[in-house]
Symmetry: C2
Subunit: 764 residues, 2 copies
């Protein structure tokens, strides 16, 4: 899987501007020697740090006396990742197909374990048993107006021998039920709720039809759910050339975009209800775990669904009648799109082999001085086929970072905090390896984990981007200032900023699988997206409240979940000299070192509180559109304001530290409390209708799937005009904000009582 | 040919708003009983007449006592056009191909003459001899990387027997030279100056190459000239499905858009230098006329040029290398467009048979009481193949209007002014029939013609639109208020206004041949475009200064200049019941009656003067971008202001008429002067570099071809940074404005001396 941060993109300029301004404000207020009067809580535009070089004598969260050692350590680390080593690793990881539940995946897990051990990590496989389907028979044929077999396999290309590998799984959507249906076809554009509404206006019914939807504008599992809600009998998903094929740019192997025979595999599990093993909701899928009957699994879809190539879609579309589609529904295939139905009748037959199958996470550990504080890094290792970008570029970068950290340890360094590295299995099926592990270790993680750094499709080009909980956004920017962009020699941060200022995105008008967020606003600081779903940060962030971030270098990438996402693709288009893999390893290394070595965790709750108050305001504006709900937001307004006040007070108290090294016990207490603020934002009972998701500020949208919805409990109840739920969720949110405020007040108290101690500095 | 009023479209909201406001102001100030104080020269927004029903007791330019008779006449006229008759006429006109210079064209001319005679008109053929090429050999083949014959003929369709007609001319561009070239290919998008600049930035050279340009965004003759200026060896033009093919909507015969084998024929004569017979510039191509050597003909292009179908273009494009094209250059064919050059090498061979060929205009006359005042109506009759829309829908509407006028005459009516009807030949080659006739009768037309009403592709749907000299715009709107829209039964005006308010245009993002102007602004009055070139109003308006207008009902129309623009197309898509043909005949009839019968010609010079001052202001803004020219616009500013003052004064004087019938001699004098104002705007020496074009306010753009450029002498000199010419053209423009002001002053003087006479009313 990968992530689509389209929500962030839609948020537009104003969101970015505010984030940037407040992030800067906090950075400033952290700088030693700046008095309270000089460090306003809300910075003005003059305060923007955009053209200031980072102050090398300071690092956010580090005592002045510790900065030199940290810088030296970071410099050593930066010299260690190697593009040659990265290329070798990627070649090995992508040498055979390694879908979850197959031997290929187990062998990749063993390779990773062995690598981690060779770097000096403790490392073990962690085995779960998950309910995984594999396709026994996937058949699609046109039966009217002519008989024609569809669902044809992806075409091999002589220049890329891997594409001849017979072990590649056919195109299928995992968690589709088995089933057989023969029916006329209706084209439903992207298959969103809005698209079905439009069809209804055009008097085109979909009940009992096979609906043909193009990929894009949201998670495919949502398309399956919406098709089911509209009583379609089956769902065919395809990749339109307007989205990630020849309209975007040259198709593989001439260019990096999807060829006419390319198929996007992928899960349609309802991960927005809950991810992970469908039969063990909320608990780990260990050998002995109690399992529910698959009929009761709430994250399983119910209508037969399969993906096809643009070539097959063209065969279907050319036999559709009905009205011409609305202008914006016209895709890039060479014909005028009609809604259908028409002459085309499809016969779809799917036989899925559902079994309990073994999956293998790899968990490695580099033990720190405080083994009860963990910095966790992770990505998945299973791939639909070869998975060069998704996920092996991330695996490679994490392994290069681990190798570098191991080298530092070998040279005598012992991290202050323990570093955990997780390589998760079965992410593609529904974030299963990470979810089961988080579920198994939920309590321990909530006690020990200080942050989770996720990688996935970490390299498909050279354009940096990411998403993060607001408290970590400035930390990501600071790390990006430290790492050199391989192409230009300037910092990743500068290139990132300049690219966004110039509005340079991918060539495609709507590339389907940008591995990173690439908003096109113009402002001083490059923005980071919100954490939605779509990769393994989901259980860490949404289920147990660990501050999380996700990042990558993106590029023109049209072979998402296709046979062609392989070593040759990477070597030819994505990162031919593997320098961005090495740069990503440096980014991971710097972030790990700053999180593992800092005296006080470099979190920015002032920015977070301000961000939350902005969401609160947007929610109120939205609620005014439906005044019949008569919702009272005064308590929410007060709670958001209180959180801002508490965050500002905590900030001031932390700043008021001065001069002398901090008492270890108090530092530990403060760090514990800093981590706890995020967990305070979880609702113990979870969100209405999907209790696995507990974060009150963010959730993957029920009708978007990947991208985040803000203050989701209240927001989605409002969308449904369910006023009772909206009131209950508002109370739950208010409580969460008060809990978070209370923890910030405690930070202020502890920090004030320790006011003689030197305060840690900001990173600039 | 047809017209593309893209300039108007670009002008946008503000232009329309101003036109609307001032047009309304004048209408008001013409209303009897409104004192000077109540009739401000510049109306405010409260004055807008948008929701007022027309006042049936008044008609612009008619004495109150004459209104009832005019209304009765108009009602009689409106009952006469018939959709059955229109269908019969169109079927006859489109029964065989009738390209200019062929027997088909002569036979159509004879049919028209006979029809006019049968309606009671005097009618004669007028014969000229023009230098017309016909294709002897048109050959295009791919010779690298494989041999493949291109230039394939248009595919016949069983549902439309006419498409099997062997007499249809092959796809060719008239006035291409003969020639033979073998060269690699470069794709140049629309082939505009800007497109070649972009290629140069991409380091793609076109010298010695065959350039492949898509149709659209300007006249194809301009593409030929720009290709020549960039030293291309040959030019291939094609129709991209993104512009008028399957991306816009279903292709013929399923829908009205261009099929993959459809070819747009068309002239590449440099009509923006001068139109008409290339060998007799400025004089009529009579039998005995002196002719220049073709080598010296300034309106003839020099590189071999031919049009191909989208299918052939795909064959070429798929063998191009070089960079991927800029995003907005990507068309609708199923591949990623590259600039080239590449493997593709084309062999182009054209043998053109250039000869003096006879062409036949038809000129009919319904003699009025004043045979020295002519209302002229015209359209062309030659077609590339069958020409159902272009031009036969216009011919049909004009003939239906003539039949109706003839009926009125038969019933005893004699028009006040003579009505002339011209059906021009060889318009498709370069406005030849109309240009030669205007050149032959220039002096007489300048003495006698009061207005020219042009039709061409008059019906391809039901969306009304038009272009007109500013003094006639309100008249067109008033006529549209009188005629019922066949689909809705409401007035053409109301439907027109509502459509534009709703922003409804054709489905295509850039339909290539909208026969009418369809701007998408939102304001109270629907706008009319500027007169550029592209149809037979050109010689009347730009060469001899006759107030002109052009109009039609447009729709989804993708078969422009293709074999498929035939009767079956019209019967299936354009106007299946021929009711819009009849409605267009009514529009023509009403306009003719109002122009032929009015006591004072219903011209609106207040609006015109205001419009000119707006262009003057835009010009000054534009000149500020190049301050190095140091142009002094004070004289121009003064002249434009003087024109406004004189127009307002004339308006007031005309309003001051009151109560009693006007003295015939004075009315004649006033009408003469009203006509002369437009001619006063001609520069006797013409525009720099193209003296045939003499209008100082409008000309077809040298680098757009169809659409109008404003204050063209100064404007194009500015664009070239030719400051000397800009100064000289400014003087010429200043003189023209002063001449026009002087005539308006004379109108004021004559009208004031006649102030006892009843004044004519406005139409609302």
């Amino acid at each position: 899987m990968t992530r689509m941060c389209s929500k962030q993109r839609e948020d537009g300029l104003s969101a970015w501007r505010r984030v940037a301004v407040f992030a800067t404000a906090v950075a400033l207020s952290f700088v030693p020697g700046v008095s309270d009067a000089q460090a306003p809580i809300l910075a003005t535009s003059q305060d923007k740090a955009q053209d200031r070089a980072p102050d090398k004598a300071k690092i956010r969260g580090f005592l002045t006396g510790h900065v030199a050692a940290e810088r030296e350590l970071e410099q050593k680390l930066q010299r260690l990742p190697s593009s040659e080593s990265a290329e070798r690793t990627l070649r090995i990881l992508t040498s055979t197909p390694h879908m979850a539940g197959t031997d290929g995946s187990r062998r990749v897990a063993e390779f990773i374990r062995d690598q981690l051990r060779s770097y000096g990590f403790e490392a073990e496989l962690v085995r779960y048993r998950a309910w995984l389907p594999q396709p026994t028979e996937v058949k699609l044929e046109l039966v009217q107006p002519e008989t024609k077999a569809l669902g044809t396999p992806e075409e091999p290309f002589e220049s890329d021998k891997d594409t001849y590998d017979k072990r590649a799984v056919v195109g299928f959507n995992s968690y589709s039920p088995s089933g057989e249906v023969t029916a006329p076809v209706v084209y439903v554009n992207y298959g969103t709720q809005e698209d079905y509404r439009r069809l209804s206006e055009l008097s085109v019914g979909v009940e009992g039809k096979i609906v043909l939807a193009r990929y894009g504008r949201g998670f495919r599992g949502v398309k399956a759910k919406v098709a089911e809600e509209n009583k379609a009998a089956g769902l065919i998903l395809y990749s339109d050339p307007a989205d990630d094929g020849y309209v975007a740019g040259d198709a593989y192997p001439r260019g990096p975009w999807r060829p006419m025979s390319g198929i996007q595999r992928g899960s349609i599990q309802y991960t927005f209800i809950f991810p992970g093993d469908p039969l063990t909701p909320g608990v780990a899928a260990t050998e002995q775990a109690q399992r529910i009957d698959p009929r009761w699994a709430q994250n399983l879809p119910h209508i037969p669904t399969m993906p096809v190539s643009p070539r097959d879609a063209l065969e279907i579309l050319q036999h559709l009648d009905g009205p011409q589609v609305p202008r914006e529904w016209q895709g890039g295939l060479p014909l005028t799109y009609h809604t259908g139905p028409g002459q085309a009748v499809l016969h779809l037959k799917l036989v899925m082999d559902y079994q309990q199958r073994a999956i293998y996470d790899v968990v490695g550990k580099l033990r720190g001085q405080h083994d009860d504080e963990w910095v966790v890094v992770g990505n998945h290792h299973d791939a639909w086929v070869f998975g060069a970008v998704d996920p092996s570029s991330g695996t490679t970068a994490v392994l290069e970072a681990a190798r570098a950290l191991g080298e530092l340890a070998r040279a005598g360094w012992k991290p202050r905090r323990t570093i955990l590295i997780g390589h998760w299995d079965a992410e593609e099926y529904g974030l299963i390896g990470s979810t089961e592990w988080v579920e198994e270790h939920a309590a321990e993680l909530q006690r020990k984990a200080v942050a989770y750094i996720n990688l996935d499709s970490a390299v498909s080009g050279g354009n940096f981007g990411g998403s993060a909980t607001p408290s970590l956004r400035e930390l990501v920017r600071e790390a990006a200032r430290e790492v050199a962009d391989p192409r230009t020699g300037r910092s990743v941060y500068e290139v990132w900023k300049e690219r966004l200022e110039k509005g340079q995105g991918p060539r495609s008008p709507s590339a389907l699988a940008p591995p990173i967020d690439a908003p096109r606003q113009n402002d001083s600081d490059p923005p980071l997206g919100m954490l939605g779903a779509g990769s393994d940060f989901t259980p860490f962030f949404h289920h147990v409240g660990i501050p999380s971030l996700d990042m990558g270098f993106g590029g023109d990438y049209g072979v998402y979940h296709a046979l062609y996402d392989d070593f040759y693709w990477m070597k030819t288009f994505g990162d031919p000299s593997f320098v961005y893999h090495a740069a990503m390893a440096r980014m991971v290394g710097i972030l790990v070192l700053r999180l593992a070595e800092s005296d006080l965790l470099p979190f920015d709750y002032d920015a977070y509180a301000t961000e939350i108050d902005r969401y609160r305001n947007e929610l109120e504006v939205l609620a005014k559109v439906s005044p019949e709900g008569k919702l009272d937001f005064s308590a929410l307004r007060d709670a958001a304001a209180a959180l801002k006040t508490s965050a500002a007070r905590a900030q001031k108290a932390l700043e008021a530290h001065g001069g002398v090294p901090m008492d270890a016990t108090r530092a530990t207490a403060l760090n514990r409390q800093l981590v706890d603020v995020e967990q305070a934002l979880l609702a113990p009972q979870g969100l209405t209708g999907r209790p696995w998701f507990r974060h009150t500020i963010y959730a993957p949208g029920t009708y978007t799937g990947y991208s985040a919805v803000l203050l989701p409990g209240v927001r989605e109840a409002l969308d449904r005009k369910d006023w009772d739920t909206a009131r209950r969720e508002t109370s739950s949110l208010v409580e969460a904000l008060h809990r978070a405020a209370a923890r910030l007040d405690e930070i202020a108290r502890v920090a004030s009582s320790n006011a003689k101690v030197e305060k840690p500095a900001a990173g600039r």
